[in-house]
């Protein structure tokens, strides 16, 4: 009987905290949405699963060796660690951890050495996060793969749709304002870095959001990534009412001029031109847009198809698996369960809505000044969420006129939105990073 009691003591069930149980449920819900409702499954399956793993009580998979040592609360080890970081008293383990994270890198290294010597080690997901996200590599590689899958043809055929992609980024900055507003009102507690990272949800672009969040506000990364991917999956529900509200039946029936064919030379020059422009104007966006352009150049140049194929397949798949699990590590209860998370979720949907509205309104404004009319429904595709948002434009357009195919027209603002949010990311990293 005593053996069984010991077994029970060391089991996860006895150590489980309510927050962990709740987060395991959240992970299950994400998996349900991904598998049964097809919510961005490529990301939400690994994120949901990673979230469950991160909250297994006693396993410490999402924690560093130092965090695991502190949370294990062995008095001898705590003494060594607190001595290393020169903290003499603390109210709770969480308080001690907070103190440790505030101390200088040198002291933290000493404390980590003490933890390792006591036999504690980094959790698996913590290692995944350190390698794939903390270095920035995983989102950049995925962005390269996205570049290698992107066709700039529709954009090149109708460059002014870039303005739609610009307008839709207003969702990002309006959300930043919202976040600082909530903080000013005392409802939430976001720094300007947090606000910028939350705003990027409105960019509707997964790797950009994760990249920015990892640089500006790593603690909020889990909530931001989950919000970004969830709302991207919800685009077919969020956008149509807004699109209908802001357009008349006649506007929705506008037929656009057939797109011209774009030559291979233009497609090769475009990513290089974009790269140079980024390099000259906004160096902080260079990693993101550089890798994006590199992927696109590999696809378009036609002489490195081997590399382009691998970038679009095994490389992006491998990276997605580890990126997803790493994001899941930020769904650990004590980082995720916070009123701030609710604020992020609420702000995220506002960001999508405002971005959609601004894209549509911009299209209407452009129609006032140009004789080649744009169907304002393609404005909403400017939020990115490639290719979902472009399909939504097409579907809403077909309801107004069953013979009006907007898909290719909407791909222009759709990829413009990717560029736009990467530019916005560069601005924010440059200003508050």
């Amino acid at each position: 009987m005593e053996q069984l009691y010991l077994l029970w003591q060391s089991s996860g069930l006895s150590q489980m905290e309510p927050g962990q149980a709740f987060m395991i449920l959240v992970g299950m819900v994400l998996l349900y949405l991904a598998i049964n409702k097809n919510f961005e499954p490529l990301l939400l399956v690994p994120i949901g699963f990673g979230g469950i793993l991160a909250n297994i009580p006693g396993a410490g998979l999402a924690y560093s060796a130092l965090e695991n040592a502190v949370l294990a609360a062995d008095p001898e080890v705590l003494k060594d660690i607190s001595y290393s970081v020169q903290i003499t008293s603390w109210e709770s383990l969480k308080d001690l951890l907070h103190g440790i994270h505030q101390s200088s890198p040198g002291l933290q290294a000493a404390a980590t050495a003490a933890a390792v010597e006591a036999g504690y080690s980094n959790g698996m997901l913590y290692n995944f996060y350190s390698v794939s996200i903390a270095t920035g590599i995983a989102p950049l590689v995925i962005f390269m793969g996205v570049g290698a899958m992107t066709d700039f043809g529709p954009l090149l055929a109708n460059p002014k749709t870039l303005f739609l992609g610009a307008a839709a980024q207003f969702g990002i900055f309006a959300t930043v304002l919202g976040a600082v507003g909530l903080t000013a009102m005392g409802l939430m507690n976001f720094s300007i870095q947090d606000a910028a990272a939350i705003g990027i949800i409105g960019g509707a672009d997964g790797p950009t959001a994760i990249y920015v969040a990892s640089m500006l506000s790593p603690d909020l990364l889990g909530a931001i990534a989950v919000a970004a991917y969830s709302y991207m999956a919800l685009v077919p529900m969020i956008q149509p009412p807004i699109m209908r509200l802001l357009t008349t039946e006649n506007e929705r029936k506008i037929k656009m001029v057939q797109l011209r064919t774009v030559s291979r030379v233009e497609k090769i020059i475009f990513p290089l031109m974009l790269l140079i422009l980024v390099g000259m104007l906004l160096p902080d966006a260079a990693p993101l847009l550089g890798m994006f352009c590199f992927g696109n150049l590999m696809k378009e140049c036609g002489v490195v198809d081997r590399l382009s194929d691998t970038t679009q397949n095994s490389l992006i798949n491998i990276t997605t698996i580890f990126l997803g699990l790493s994001v899941g590590s930020k769904l650990v209860a004590d980082k995720f369960l916070d009123t701030n998370t609710l604020g992020i979720l609420a702000l995220g949907v506002v960001a999508f809505a405002i971005g959609t509205a601004c894209g549509v309104i911009m299209a209407k404004l452009m129609n006032l000044m140009s004789k080649n009319k744009i169907n304002p429904l393609i404005g909403s595709a400017g939020v990115s969420a490639v290719p979902m948002a472009a399909r939504v434009s097409n579907r809403v357009g077909l309801k107004a006129d069953p013979n009006n195919f907007l898909l290719m027209h909407a791909m222009g603002p759709n990829v413009a939105g990717v560029i736009g949010s990467a530019v916005a990311a560069g601005v924010m990293i440059s200003l508050v990073g």
Binding site: L162, G165, V180, G181, A195, S263, R264, E266, L277, D305
Partner: protein, 85 residues
């Protein structure tokens, strides 16, 4: 004080950010149009050129060990088998 400061920061981030996004994309529109014009001028028959360019790079690429032949063989076999059924 502090609250108003963060609001100021947010507002300035918005102004500066949206400004840069628009400026950047506007420049990109200009340069793209210019580029397309230049390409159209110096490459008289873009459609033809693009296809011939693909052909010209085709030969060296054939040396790469991509599984093209297999894929083609599979498709060919599948279609053949299907027809003969």
């Amino acid at each position: 004080m502090l609250e108003s400061e963060i609001v100021t920061q947010g507002v300035s981030l918005m102004q500066f950010g949206m400004g840069t996004v628009f400026l950047f994309l506007a420049l990109l529109v200009l340069m793209t149009k210019l580029m397309s014009l230049l390409v159209a001028r110096f490459e008289p028959k873009p459609a033809e050129l693009s296809s011939s360019a693909v052909v010209s790079t085709g030969t060296p690429l054939a040396g790469q060990p991509v599984e093209d032949p297999e894929v083609l063989a599979v498709i060919a076999a599948a279609i053949q088998a299907h027809r003969n059924r």
